[in-house]
């Protein structure tokens, strides 16, 4: 009960959102399910990438190289599958590449104490360069990542339809990863140590935790999630690798991490929110409000706000609003961005 007391605002908002979603679902059943589906489809790579950011910063390493990690993994996954003729090889190649990129970031920032922002930028530039240079066009995937329908759960209206049916295994892994990272971060010994290392590394060091080793392990392993996000982009959400296929999603994920207050489940919800605003934007554009024939002042105004260029800013405007509301209330891990230097005399 104490937990309910402490979280009553969050719970009230959650309940309101849930009720509103179901009302919308039943009131507009012709478009609502597809909009929730589009929101989740958009959110999947953002959830995975935001988790990478959360794990990194919770351990004290700012990771702005997520974009590059995803790009490299998308590249390796697609071409791994195309050349080997096996989707599984492609997926593993993508995840492996994500791990290697994570390891690169971990090693440079933790062991060599390179500036974390610069290391991330280096990773992004390397990824853009390598994937543009070695791109070969005309390749196709040997198959598709099969959809998984979860029995029972999949038949729940709205929630089951959106999250547990008609999506590939990667979507399920994204859900599982968010829950798992949350539980591990706040309810296990590893989580306590990780948070300690990210907040106050010298205290953690005094308590006998190997700060460098924990940071390297965390950042490297988080790379596998970035790898999976990349694989999703090139092998599931589309069936091709193009230059810059990540289209800024790695940076978006960082905003979502902050909106989610460095907490995995809140980041999950924020990614969904972002996806849904995006779905609204395209739905408004599709319905063509104010774009057709007609004159008059209001028609002109309506036409101007529903122009695709303006509607396209909707998700970003929403991000700004949420970040402004959250400003001052959320605080990132104190030691994020600072290499840990042992003061041993």
């Amino acid at each position: 009960m104490a937990w309910v007391q402490r979280n009553r605002t969050t719970l009230a908002i959650a309940a309101a959102v849930l009720v509103a979603s179901y009302v919308f679902y039943y009131a507009k059943n012709d478009i609502a399910p597809s909009m929730f589906g589009a929101a989740w489809g958009y959110a999947i790579p953002l959830v995975l990438a935001a988790l990478v950011g959360v794990i990194g910063e919770r351990s004290g390493v700012v990771n702005i190289g997520i974009e590059g990690q995803m790009l490299l993994a998308a590249f390796a996954g697609f071409f791994g599958a195309a050349y080997s003729g096996s989707m599984i090889v492609g997926v593993l190649a993508g995840i492996g590449t994500g791990l290697i990129a994570g390891g690169f970031l971990a090693w440079t920032t933790v062991r060599w104490r390179m500036d974390q922002i610069i290391a991330g930028v280096v990773l992004n530039i390397i990824a853009t360069g390598i994937t543009s240079f070695y791109l070969k066009s005309g390749q196709t995937l040997p198959g598709v990542i099969p959809n998984v329908d979860v029995p029972v759960l999949g038949s729940i209206p709205l929630i089951g339809e959106t999250f547990f049916s008609g999506r590939s295994a990667i979507a399920l892994v994204a859900i599982a990863a968010a829950v798992l990272v949350h539980l591990s971060l706040f309810h296990t010994r590893w989580g306590l140590r990780t948070r300690a290392v990210g907040e106050y590394p010298s205290a953690a060091d005094t308590a006998g935790i190997n700060v460098e080793r924990l940071r390297i392990i965390n950042v490297t392993l988080a790379g596998s999630l970035a790898g999976l996000a990349g694989v999703y982009l090139s092998m599931d959400a589309s069936s091709s690798f193009e230059r810059g296929i990540t289209a800024g999603r790695g940076f978006l994920a960082l905003a979502i991490m902050i909106m989610g207050a460095w907490r995995p489940l809140r980041a999950f919800v924020m990614a969904l929110f972002f996806g849904f605003v995006n779905a609204i934007a395209s739905q408004l554009q599709q319905s063509g409000l104010g774009q057709g024939e007609g004159t008059g002042f209001f028609h002109g105004i309506l036409g101007a706000i529903t122009a695709p260029q303006i509607l396209g800013t909707l998700p970003y405007v929403a991000t700004l609003v949420v970040l402004a509301l959250a400003a001052g209330r959320v605080r990132g891990p104190a030691a994020a961005g600072q290499p840990y230097v042992k003061k041993d005399q």
Binding site: I31, S34, G37, A38, I126, S240, I245, G248, A279, Q309
Partner: protein, 362 residues
């Protein structure tokens, strides 16, 4: 510690070099080592472009590559063909950043190239400015319509009746749809794309008045033609809202939509997709399960023909009209009913003859 820092600096510098700054180039002289049977006297470099006997063709891409499976590639192939036919010299520059348009064109004009081809609507203003500055070089702007009052004699914009290609595709879709719902997933909202889209809608409504067409343009500028994930997501949403034919027009963004339809259940039996610009049966093999046709503009042929007029001296100023139409039905030839094929062929013929107007205005 110190030495290990270099280990970071080296890959970083390497990556910068790979990412490139000004743009990458490629050449194709007819005396290239690959083909030993080059005609005698064909130029092998661009050092003599100023001479009247040496015909030099330069091509500047939009921010895309010559293997983009779309208009840059088509223009590149057209220029290559023209090089072979004119026994000249050909070189291209791939633009990395829109700010480099002028500098890339200057690389050719400084060496007195005879013809410079600039690819894409977005280069319109830069091309007009370059044509003013270099009256001795002839400029061909693919997809570029110039404003009234443009008088440069050394400049022609190669434009295509995209609305006709779109109209034909829309007419076919209007006859083929069972749910009476069609979708369009488009790139940036610029005239060539709008002409396709409005033509498609007009054609669909002409064939089937009860049809409804939903249209989305990619909202962002920089990657509007290069976001297949977004395109796929939009196509998926339209299919879920009961659309059964999706027209993907917008580079890789549109290709993402085609590929998504190809993966949907019922692809090729009751869900179809229509490609754009080139015959995408060849350029996007992953879309083959659903691709009934492509609204095609014959960029390669247009570029080749216009370059040849530049050499022969019959170069016509300001605007040149290319051809557009529908590509072959490929494997869906048997799926599409005979009477539909006849009707569509009839419509296309009427548009070519000029008796049928699409009614598209921008």
């Amino acid at each position: 510690m110190k030495s290990s820092r270099y280990l970071v600096a080296v890959p970083a510098a390497l990556a910068l070099a790979l990412a490139g700054c000004g743009g990458s180039t490629g050449t194709s002289g007819s005396g290239s080592s690959a083909s030993g049977s080059a005609a005698a006297g064909a130029p092998t470099d661009d050092s003599n472009c100023a001479s009247a006997d040496v015909f030099c063709i330069g091509l500047v891409t939009d921010t895309g590559k010559v293997d983009d499976k779309s208009f840059n590639q088509s223009a590149h192939e057209g220029a290559k063909a023209a090089q072979a036919e004119t026994n000249g010299f050909y070189k291209y520059i791939e633009t990395q950043d829109a700010k480099d348009y002028a500098a890339n064109m200057a690389q050719f004009t400084n060496k007195k190239y005879d013809v410079v081809v600039t690819v894409g609507f977005l280069m319109t203003d830069a091309t007009v400015a370059a044509a003013k500055a270099s009256p001795d070089t002839k400029f061909i702007g693919v997809d570029q319509g110039y404003p009234e009052g443009t008088t440069e004699k050394n400049l022609t914009g190669l434009i295509f009746p995209e609305d006709q290609a779109g109209y034909g595709a829309g007419y076919l879709a209007g006859l083929m749809t069972k749910t009476n719902k069609l979708g369009q997933v488009l790139g940036l909202e610029i005239p060539p794309v709008q002409k396709y889209a409005k033509g498609f809608e007009a054609g669909a409504k002409a064939a089937n008045p009860s049809v409804s067409v939903t249209t989305v343009y990619h909202p962002a500028g920089d990657n509007a033609f290069n976001d297949p994930v977004w395109g796929g997501g939009e196509a998926r949403k339209m299919l879920a809202q009961n659309a059964d034919i999706i027209f993907g027009a917008g580079g890789n963004t549109g290709n993402g939509a085609l590929q998504e339809v190809a993966k949907a259940s019922g692809a090729g039996t009751d869900k179809f997709c229509i490609g754009v610009d080139t015959d995408q049966w060849d350029t996007v093999p992953a879309a083959q399960p659903c691709l009934i046709t492509s609204a095609e503009k014959l960029i390669s042929k247009g570029v080749t023909d216009t370059i040849k007029t530049a050499k022969d001296g019959e170069f016509s100023g300001i605007q040149t009209l290319g051809q557009a139409g529908l590509s072959s039905f490929h494997d869906f030839d048997a799926t599409i009913p005979e009477d539909v094929k006849t009707k569509v062929a009839d419509i296309v013929k009427q548009m070519e003859a000029g008796t049928l107007k699409t009614g598209v205005t921008l």
